[in-house]
């Protein structure tokens, strides 16, 4: 098995119905830096994306025919990728260096993420790259309020593109942005104006691209710290709370901070047990750990049941060398979670 960072990254583009996924994808595919990408789309959309693809992408394109990518054809996704991979190996299609999978608007992106990470064949060739979620600047707030899928899509995102910002009301946009930031403090926000978005920025390498060497980590830690600073007045020591007052929402994010170095073995036992029991409720787990006996900070990154392999950063991104773990959860007791990890860690505390 190749090292994780050398596998082909798969970008997932998701977003609620009418939020501009296809427009974004069209825009992205015209960008020269995506010439080396294979694209998997659904025919569920009503925009003429497939025409564009047939013209421009030629054999790099496989159209999935089953409609909803997540609910009905996880197996199709697997088969499509494996088939495409075989063609790539045989030289029947160009040796693409990345892949983009577009979900339907009603899709929960988790099954796709799970398929990529759990299938025995796929996981030896591909890895999850960045999850990009489009949110409608005009109707996004309503979708988040009414549709669980929309909340889920925003929660698991690495990048959130707010679309139609040129026609949306400024106050409404600000409220939407604030809501999304509370929901997913580690996501990077981009704005699409008249369908235009900074594609290069959007596709900037993810956590596991060696070229960027942790720039992504610095970005989301900085975002987290900024938000933590805002919340200090309202939270106790070591606990940054978000969204606690939103009566109608169970999904919220918070950061647990541990002053003492963590025991890696105990942490592995704890996280696998947690994801086994509560994986569906753990939408994101992202963190930088100070691991006992190891100088380099260890990066952890999980989406529901899936955990990316941990990775060392060369150095701490700032002077704060405490372990910091950001959780985005659905109805999980924060205090209990914090106490639980501390208890597991304590059992290993006397290790040499």
């Amino acid at each position: 098995m190749a090292a994780y960072s050398r596998l082909i990254p798969v970008f997932v583009i998701t977003g609620f119905l009418g939020s501009g996924k296809t427009t974004l994808l069209n825009r992205m595919l015209r960008h020269p830096s995506l010439r080396d990408a294979a694209v998997l789309v659904n025919e569920f959309g009503d925009v003429g994306l497939d025409h564009f693809l047939v013209e421009k992408m030629d054999e790099n394109t496989v159209l999935l025919e089953s409609g909803c990518l997540c609910c009905t054809i996880r197996d199709d996704l697997k088969k499509s990728i494996i088939e495409l991979n075989s063609k790539r190996e045989r030289g029947e299609v160009p040796r693409y260096k990345r892949m983009i999978v577009e979900t339907t608007g009603l899709a929960d992106p988790s099954p796709i993420i799970f398929t990529l990470s759990s299938d025995t064949v796929l996981k030896h060739h591909y890895r999850l790259g960045t999850v990009i979620t489009t949110v409608d600047g005009v109707n996004g707030l309503g979708a988040l309020k009414r549709h669980a899928e929309s909340v889920k899509q925003a929660s698991v995102a690495d990048r959130i593109v707010i679309t139609k910002s040129d026609i949306a009301d400024a106050t409404q946009l600000a409220r939407l942005r604030a809501k999304l930031e509370r929901l997913n403090p580690t996501a990077e926000f981009l704005t699409a104006i008249d369908g235009k978005v900074d594609v290069r920025h959007l596709l900037r390498a993810d956590l596991y691209d060696l070229k960027t060497k942790g720039a992504e980590v610095r970005r989301w830690l900085a975002a987290e710290a900024e938000r933590a600073g805002h919340d200090d007045d309202h939270a106790g020591p070591n606990v940054n709370r978000h969204d606690v007052n939103r009566h109608d929402e169970r999904i919220r994010s918070f950061t647990l901070i541990y002053d003492e170095p963590l025991d890696w073995t105990a942490f592995g036992i704890w996280l696998t047990m947690l994801l086994h029991c509560h994986g569906e409720k753990m939408l994101r787990v992202k963190g930088l750990l100070n691991v006992k006996g190891i100088d380099a900070p260890v990066l952890i990154n999980g989406v529901q049941h899936v955990v990316h392999p941990p990775m060392h950063l060369k150095a701490w991104p700032d002077d704060d060398h405490r372990s910091r773990i950001v959780f985005i959860v659905d109805d999980i007791d924060q205090a209990l979670l914090e106490r639980s990890l501390a208890a597991f860690n304590k059992v290993g505390a006397a290790a040499a």
Binding site: M1, A2, A3, Y4, S5, T120, Y208, L210, W264, T265, A266, G268, I269, W270, T272, M273, L274, L275, H276, C277, H278, V291, I294, A296, V298, L299, V307, H308, P309, P310, M311, H312, I332, D333, L336, L337, R339, S340, A343, F344, K346, V347, G348, A349, A350, A351, A352
Partner: protein
């Protein structure tokens, strides 16, 4: 696949590939891996005590989970499988947020290695 027992081997789980699994695909080397595994089993047994079960290492790449009477035994290759096996044996939920488990761990003596 293991030629003796027919178990499918799926490469080391991220918990067993050291802390830098994102850059290196190999498992920990020999003795370090063995010591780490002994330590993991000792820690696991602190947790499994809550459920009246124990875990042992088998051949350095599998775990044997059993209840106290030894009447129920499962062989697994990684931690996610171990939690499933524990639930199959005990018919209890393996929940790290269980207050009783947390209280037990808070009182448990630390493992040394």
């Amino acid at each position: 696949m293991c030629a003796l027992c027919g178990a499918l081997m799926d490469g080391p789980h991220w918990t067993e590939r050291g802390t830098d699994a994102g850059r290196a695909d190999a498992a920990l080397p020999g003795r370090r891996r063995y010591l780490e595994r002994c330590y993991r089993v000792a820690l696991l047994n602190r947790v499994l005590a809550r459920y009246g079960c124990t875990a042992d290492d088998w051949a350095g790449n599998q775990y044997v989970v059993r209840n106290r009477s030894g009447g129920a035994t499962e062989v697994v290759t990684n931690l996610p499988q171990l939690w499933l096996a524990l639930e199959a044996i005990t018919r209890k939920t393996a929940d790290p947020l269980d207050p009783e488990l947390i209280a037990r761990l808070e009182k448990a003596p630390p493992v040394t290695h």
